[in-house]
């Protein structure tokens, strides 16, 4: 334990940002927006995080540049269908069991927890597990948004092998993935396991070093999500347009306002797959649009032409409040604004686009074009 304590003190405790309840409220909004329709509703996660906070646990964030190069960090998140997580709430300590099982298997002590996916509920899951484990969460993540599959992290894209990994469910099942022949195999096996565990579990992946994270993680994710949430809260207070505030904060663009006129969703292998069709309102009166969904919003077309595609962020917002609407909360007749935000450059390399570009989701005729090049 002495060795563990020394290792943990590679950072100065005063460097830690200990979250308070207001930070959590802002994070809920920001992570919801970055969820691009998926990643699960952060509300439930927020309640759990708040309950942990009120029970005396510290939820703390460690700045990426304060992380020691040889620190051992494991990424962790919920995996499965958002609609399941929204209905069949967790037992609560799935994440902690993942961390302990992985430590035990590898015979090491972990220094910090890393977020796989800042978008949606997975922004909260690492905080809850880390709080119970007495560890900080690093200010970074592997997606800068939400994606439907595990191999779609910058960690995997830039060479990290995510096995051995551990998956825990609410029944007390602990599954160790000793080795996967590829990241895709890991995803496939994990997905099959999630479905058998009821469609929503928690998974912790093999440790990464601090040095690797500094190079290949999406930096400052928690700072970004909390700032985004604060910008929305400020806009609401001042009766400014929250949609405009989101665009301004993240260098994005409002690409549509409309009403949902048709909605098709299927649950397939734990994914929500479908399409929302919209009829334009206000400045977009007379236009039609569609958003293709695979847990997240992936391709946005206006009048039949693709305008925004993954990995850039396509966000469906309540037109008035600026609240993000997750794909399972879409309803016929809703009035929404659609905003596109540019993704991090780590997601736009050729290697990244193979994994998280439109073709990786089966949109063979769609070529990724960064939204910065779009005609306004």
């Amino acid at each position: 334990m002495a060795e563990r304590a020394l290792k943990a003190l590679n950072y100065d405790p005063s460097d830690l940002w200990v979250l308070d309840e207001e930070d959590l409220e802002a994070l809920e909004i920001g992570a919801g927006i970055l969820g691009t329709g998926g990643g699960g509703n952060p509300y439930i996660g927020k309640l759990r995080a708040r309950l942990a906070m009120r029970s005396g646990y510290n939820l703390s964030i460690l700045p990426l540049d304060r992380l020691a190069d040889d620190a051992r960090c494991i990424s962790l998140g919920g995996i499965g269908a958002p609609v399941v997580a929204y209905e069949r709430l967790k037992e609560g300590r799935e994440g902690l069991r993942c961390v302990r099982a992985l430590e035990e298997h590898l015979g090491i002590a972990i220094d910090a927890i890393v977020c796989e996916e800042i978008g949606g509920a997975n922004s909260m899951e690492p905080l809850i597990a880390a709080a119970f484990a007495g560890l900080p969460v690093v200010d970074c993540d592997g997606m800068g948004r939400a994606f439907p599959e595990m191999q779609m992290t910058t960690f995997s894209i830039y060479g990290h092998r995510s096995t051995p990994s551990v998956m825990c469910d609410l029944h007390g099942n602990v599954v160790l993935f000793q080795h996967a022949a590829s990241e895709l195999w890991h995803e496939r096996m994990a997905r099959a396991c999630v479905v058998s565990q009821g469609g929503a579990s928690t998974l912790a992946s093999a440790p990464m070093t601090g040095a690797f994270l500094k190079k290949y993680s999406i930096p400052h994710s928690y700072t970004q999500a909390v700032s985004l949430g604060r910008a929305v809260l400020k806009a609401r207070r001042e009766h400014a347009d929250p949609v405009a505030a989101i665009c301004a904060q993240e260098n994005g663009r409002q690409v549509f306002s409309g009403k949902i006129v048709d909605l098709e969703r299927h649950l397939r292998g734990g994914f929500v797959i479908g399409e929302a069709k919209l009829a334009g309102i206000d400045a977009f009166n007379g236009d039609t649009a569609s958003v293709m969904i695979q847990n997240e919003n992936l391709v946005f077309s206006r009048n039949g032409e693709v305008e925004v595609s993954v990995p850039d962020l396509i966000i469906v917002l309540d037109v008035d409040s600026g609240n993000a609407i997750t794909t399972e909360m879409l309803r016929y007749g809703q009035r929404v604004a659609i905003v596109a935000l540019p993704c991090h450059s780590l997601l736009r390399s050729a290697a990244a686009l193979e994994v998280v570009g439109p073709k990786a989701f089966g949109f063979d005729d769609v070529t990724f074009r960064p939204i910065e090049g779009m005609q306004p």
């Binding site: 309950l51 069949r88 609560g92 009766h239 609240n323 007749g333 009035r335």
Partner: protein
């Protein structure tokens, strides 16, 4: 033929007689403790004022904020045993975890987590722990809890465990009213559970209230059918309200907003309906209440009903005004409610209310002004400033752009509203005081289909949606809707994965104008 619209608020009971688009008469009476007397007074007044033959009244529509008020004031609420079937799932968050403390206290902290529940594919999470249910039943008897709400994980997909648990509790607690969540809401455990608990807490009040309505109409010699308006502004049979009082939660605001739009002809506005106990604030867009996108807050609790985006604050004409020891003045949320005509100072009572403040400052002329002549001017000014601040805050919260749209003030308590609010003009339409009752009288009739369709043997999703729409339309027509006014307001399909037959749950709701509206 005529229509009689009645609105039963916490303080006032209003009635209007309408013929086609014309308001023939509108009358306000005080809500009475027995409800019946106030309803009779209002409707007799309206019938007399319109000078019509009561046998030619074809329909009675009643809107009421009784149940919402009960939640907001935390009054007339039963203790509820909140039973959740789902362990080991859901242990991370107990029932009512996101409720305001005082409301959770009002229903008691009787929460029980039981092994059971379903996975998304219909497997059991755990077998239902019936022995635990029997122990819970004993606890319910011991604590004399008045109702139970049972919520099972994934009950919208499979209702069986909720029904089984209900049977077990019923057997061991004979006569206990029990609500199952699958009857109330959709997928989303916490919101559905909260709605079921609130519904259970209101059952005694619901039975009492519906009986009172029926008695009033009978005593007045009205034998035509009567309907009660629900959240989306459509009508439901009175008997349904006995079991599902929560479905009326937003009917008050919906009625007042539709009434305000109808009376002013304004399509874009913020409507503030100031009653005796609460004020409801919401925005009109294209003449309809703006619908909440996702989650609606009722008395501080999230629910997942489809409702207008309206919120209530505890400010009305009967709100209590109190001076604290430190000199601060508080307004509401407690109210003298329907006892205003007895308890307010200007009516000879002993309780200082917001109405007394308005009269003391010469802003309203109600009751006997001499009874408030003694009031400390500084206290009255402080209370008035607080009232204006509460109204401004709530209007600002509803406002979604900087455009200077008007504020429409309706409701009996609108004497509290200044002529301008911040930078916004205030409009008071003719018949402003009875806008709610007008909204009830123009309420639409709906038809609904909500069931599981098997997408097989050539049946596509589109065909099934179309079929559901036709059935819903037929139901609306047979309930009295006019064919050319029917429109679809809800259309939703939720696939039930991994069930045989490619099953999908389809929910379609259509609404139309009640026959006679154009007559």
């Amino acid at each position: 033929m005529y229509r009689l619209g009645i609105d039963v608020g916490g303080t006032n009971t209003d009635a209007v007689i309408m013929e086609g688009r014309h308001v023939l008469s509108g009358v306000k009476a005080s809500t009475t403790e027995d409800v019946t007397t106030g309803v009779i007074e209002a409707l007799e007044g309206a019938i007399a004022k319109a000078g019509i033959d009561r046998s030619r009244i074809s329909t009675v529509m009643i809107g009421t904020t009784h149940f919402t008020n009960a939640v907001i004031e935390r009054k007339h609420i039963n203790h509820v045993a909140a039973i959740r079937l789902g362990l080991p799932a859901t242990a991370c968050l107990p029932p009512m975890v996101d409720w305001p403390n005082d409301l959770a206290e009002a229903v008691g902290h009787h929460t029980y987590l039981v092994r059971g529940g379903y996975e998304f594919d219909g497997r059991a999470i755990a077998p239902l722990d019936e022995e635990e249910l029997i122990r819970i039943a004993a606890d319910i008897r011991l604590k004399n809890v008045k109702a139970a709400a049972i919520t099972c994980v994934f009950s919208p997909i499979n209702a069986e465990m909720e029904q089984r648990a209900k049977a077990v509790i019923e057997k061991h607690c004979p006569g206990l009213p029990i609500v199952v969540s699958g009857d109330i809401g959709r997928i989303g455990l916490l919101e559905r559970e909260s709605a079921a608990i609130m519904n259970a807490s209101l059952l005694s009040l619901a039975a009492k209230t519906v009986d009172a309505f029926a008695k009033a109409l009978k005593d007045a010699g009205l034998s035509c059918p009567f309907f009660i308006t629900q959240n989306d502004g459509t009508l439901m049979a009175a008997a349904t309200v006995r079991s599902f009082p929560v479905l009326t939660f937003a009917s008050g605001p919906t009625n007042s907003m539709r009434g305000a739009a109808f009376l002013t002809g304004r399509k874009e506005a913020i409507v503030v309906d100031i009653g005796g106990t609460t004020s409801d604030v919401g925005a009109l867009h294209h003449g309809f209440p703006r619908q909440a996108a996702t989650i609606v807050d009722v008395g501080g609790v999230r629910t997942n009903f489809r409702m207008p985006d309206v919120f209530s604050i505890g400010l009305g004409g009967g709100s209590l005004v109190r001076e604290l020891a430190n000199g601060d003045v508080t307004v509401g949320p407690q109210s003298v409610g329907y006892r205003i005509a007895r308890d307010a100072l200007v009516f000879g009572g002993q309780t200082l209310t917001t109405t007394d403040i308005a009269v003391a400052l010469g802003k309203a002329d109600v009751g006997d002004a001499s009874k408030v002549a003694h009031l400390d001017r500084a206290l009255a000014e402080k209370a008035h400033a607080r009232i204006v601040q509460m109204l401004e805050n709530s209007v600002e919260r509803s406002r979604v752009s900087a455009d200077p749209i008007p504020v429409i003030a309706v409701g009996g308590g609108s004497i509290l509203m200044p002529d301008r609010l911040g930078d916004l003009d205030v409009i008071r339409p003719e018949n402003f005081a009875v806008a709610n009752a007008v909204g009830a009288a123009i309420a639409q009739i709906s038809g609904e289909v909500d069931r599981v369709f098997a997408l097989e043997k050539g049946l596509t999703r589109e065909i099934c949606l179309k079929q559901a729409e036709q059935e819903a339309t037929e139901r609306a027509l047979s309930a009295g809707a006019i064919a050319e006014t029917i429109q679809v307001i809800e259309r939703e399909d939720v696939p039930l994965a991994y069930l045989p037959g490619n099953a999908t749950r389809i929910h379609v709701k259509v609404v139309g104008e009640m026959g006679g509206f154009h007559g």
